[in-house]
Symmetry: D2
Subunit: 249 residues, 4 copies
Amino acid sequence: MPIRVTVWNEFRHEKSSEYVKKVYPDGIQNTLKAAVEKLLGSEVSVRTATLDEPEHGLTDEVLNNTDVLFWWGHMAHQEVKDEIAAKVAQRVLAGMGLIVLHSGHHSKPFRLLMGTSGHLKWREAGEIERLWVVSPGHPITVGMEKDYIELPHEEMYGEQFDIPTPDELVFISWFEGGEVFRSGCVWKRGAGKVFYFRPGHESYPTYHNPEIQRVLANAVKYVAPVGGVPNRTNSPQITDPIAPISKRD
Amino acid sequence: MPIRVTVWNEFRHEKSSEYVKKVYPDGIQNTLKAAVEKLLGSEVSVRTATLDEPEHGLTDEVLNNTDVLFWWGHMAHQEVKDEIAAKVAQRVLAGMGLIVLHSGHHSKPFRLLMGTSGHLKWREAGEIERLWVVSPGHPITVGMEKDYIELPHEEMYGEQFDIPTPDELVFISWFEGGEVFRSGCVWKRGAGKVFYFRPGHESYPTYHNPEIQRVLANAVKYVAPVGGVPNRTNSPQITDPIAPISKRD
Amino acid sequence: MPIRVTVWNEFRHEKSSEYVKKVYPDGIQNTLKAAVEKLLGSEVSVRTATLDEPEHGLTDEVLNNTDVLFWWGHMAHQEVKDEIAAKVAQRVLAGMGLIVLHSGHHSKPFRLLMGTSGHLKWREAGEIERLWVVSPGHPITVGMEKDYIELPHEEMYGEQFDIPTPDELVFISWFEGGEVFRSGCVWKRGAGKVFYFRPGHESYPTYHNPEIQRVLANAVKYVAPVGGVPNRTNSPQITDPIAPISKRD
Amino acid sequence: MPIRVTVWNEFRHEKSSEYVKKVYPDGIQNTLKAAVEKLLGSEVSVRTATLDEPEHGLTDEVLNNTDVLFWWGHMAHQEVKDEIAAKVAQRVLAGMGLIVLHSGHHSKPFRLLMGTSGHLKWREAGEIERLWVVSPGHPITVGMEKDYIELPHEEMYGEQFDIPTPDELVFISWFEGGEVFRSGCVWKRGAGKVFYFRPGHESYPTYHNPEIQRVLANAVKYVAPVGGVPNRTNSPQITDPIAPISKRD
């Protein structure tokens, strides 16, 4: 059975900015969809969802049939309904993989799952970013020829990045202007995995970059729940003893 | 300067149950306060706060002058105001230590900081709990003579405990009825530390136990912010480059 | 291409003890080989190697063609040549998966890779062991129907287990006699993964248990290097600058 | 009782190179000793030891009375006797703190404790290093005014750094020439803590830098065993059951 992927995008910059429209004429969601389909073929079945659809495109039917969810948002985090954000987080605890991109560090689902502010330093100067692999042999890096990816122009994100210690740190970014950033991080939450991947400012063609696309395709496979979303009762349970308990006063 | 400790307790069971009243006649908060004062003396200054006080006893003035906060709650988690829970979580990110006790696994501040449900299995059968140290030499275990603490009667909490992977796992509990539990866990969140410590059901005299008291006193010192709550701007920051950025087309 | 598995077994108890010979007439190595082949079919190609073969059956040719190595040893750890143990560890750093079983906690390759003593408490009383899953949805636990595996008779291993903090803690064991143990642990070392799995004393039929076999088959897939052993130069490298370095006095 | 610190230095470059002799006329060991004494006063008692002393200055008497050991070595790692390196590692498992500096990434005690090669990229070009704090409020960073330390001239060390995932990642370095490095890492090994701190090439005056000195003084306090080296039997132990074991066939 293919991995069922839903690419969620805020899809506002692409409508409001002529500049961004040229970079992503069909919206970031469709660029990502095409990339994942190209690289993973029949291993995936991909759909998209956007903020301005009813229920942000994330109905129960959609979420209950999603194994891996991408999340790109920026200018309209506050417009995401709390109940939808909570359902996304709940679905991760049940086993869904979540790939949070770039400015999604401030999105509601990410903050709910991390418990931290997601604050960071930033600067938009179109500078060089170089993402170094610090976890050799990690499945997310398979197929990379070098041990870094270089992007000629990106927004800078700098430490301190207010996140819990990642369970796995895969990439650290170097920025031309002098900062570093933990730019590829994996956390387990409940039965699900969250992968945060830093690059992808809307005004640069980052998601057209083949190396970035490969990382994202690898990430889909990595965070997908093995054997599907586990059939577990994610609820408090009162339990009978398995071993005998001695009689005492 | 002493570590400024606030012991927060829901303080309901002690009023509604004759049985609990006998175990903790002055409330769990005062038993904990006395224990910490006895063991740490002038190293600490301790006050208490309870649910039914105005703002649950956690005014801005109190929180801003608290280095370490204990949290015991159970039957009235939902009565804790969201805004107070959010302030507690925010203060942890700024550096305050938080010691979450027993049924506090379902409290609002803990869930906010963890991003998980805190669900677990449980059983109230007054069975034996044995807390094994799995991190030798950990500051929280200093002064223990054995490598376990045995409690003759406790409520059982069993895995799976829906928490993020602890940054430090200090204790694992064995229960007579057949379960295990990660019963002493440390997480960093922002600049603050959270210590979850499992034992302490209201109907057993667990907090009168000298070994448990020692662990709690050790924990106060361990989660207290070294040098006070850091003077950092916990906010997004736009930043000028430190290194020169090349001119490019 | 199938995952190339080598099952290494000391293969001494099965020859020296009539009792053990009845439990594992063909040696533990062949029981494990058959189990992995049965569960993974054409996904794997499995061979065995034992202590008393030349180079312990682990020639360069064998190691260089092994993606996942099982290691069972007990009474003859000291007979394993240092140079072979070092080659095993080196191959893990290059990407090979290593599954260390039971008394392998004291084996040379495991100690080399961990940097700790591997010491623990033990008792041979044929008591009940119950392995609780503490990482829901972990690939190693796929297909389990309950959240624990119960073994009616096993040797006890108890904390403190002198190991580095596992990168992933998958199982915690409960023992009838009163102890707990971190019994399923994953560490990354270099580009390779190490999985330690506790059960499997030679005098009990643990490796005939279908649930244990499933965990081991899952583990083979989990620790196998994705895309093969990475083609990286695992050596110190002197490096030219990528970015310009300013002239200074 | 003061923390008993021993500063171990290879002490060869300072004798063989006129250039280094000018930077550290009394040897790196005495610069470090003076810095720790200046900052920690009566909280510490500090001595030095060097490679060319009998037993490298690390007799049993010295090691058994050391709470925190600094280790600086580079050109003569292979001259350190295996048995002394093993004693150092063993003492860490028993609770001693170990601060490994700069080129000590390839030293015998560090490699023994990590189980990895310690390999990395390097370049000696006197470039800028900027060490960013990624763990706000960490005790090792207390007293820093900024969230980075800038060194005008240092040797470059670049990823991939072949180490186990740090239990705590405190600093990440940015280098002018384009690389990043995990430059402040903490691991627990047995009852002891290891802190690796990257800066300190022998030909630059890094250890005269007040900010670097403060980090090192903080680190002494952080890795020192609370309450002294624990009085535990670091050995395998056979154990009687605590709970009754049922009679079975």
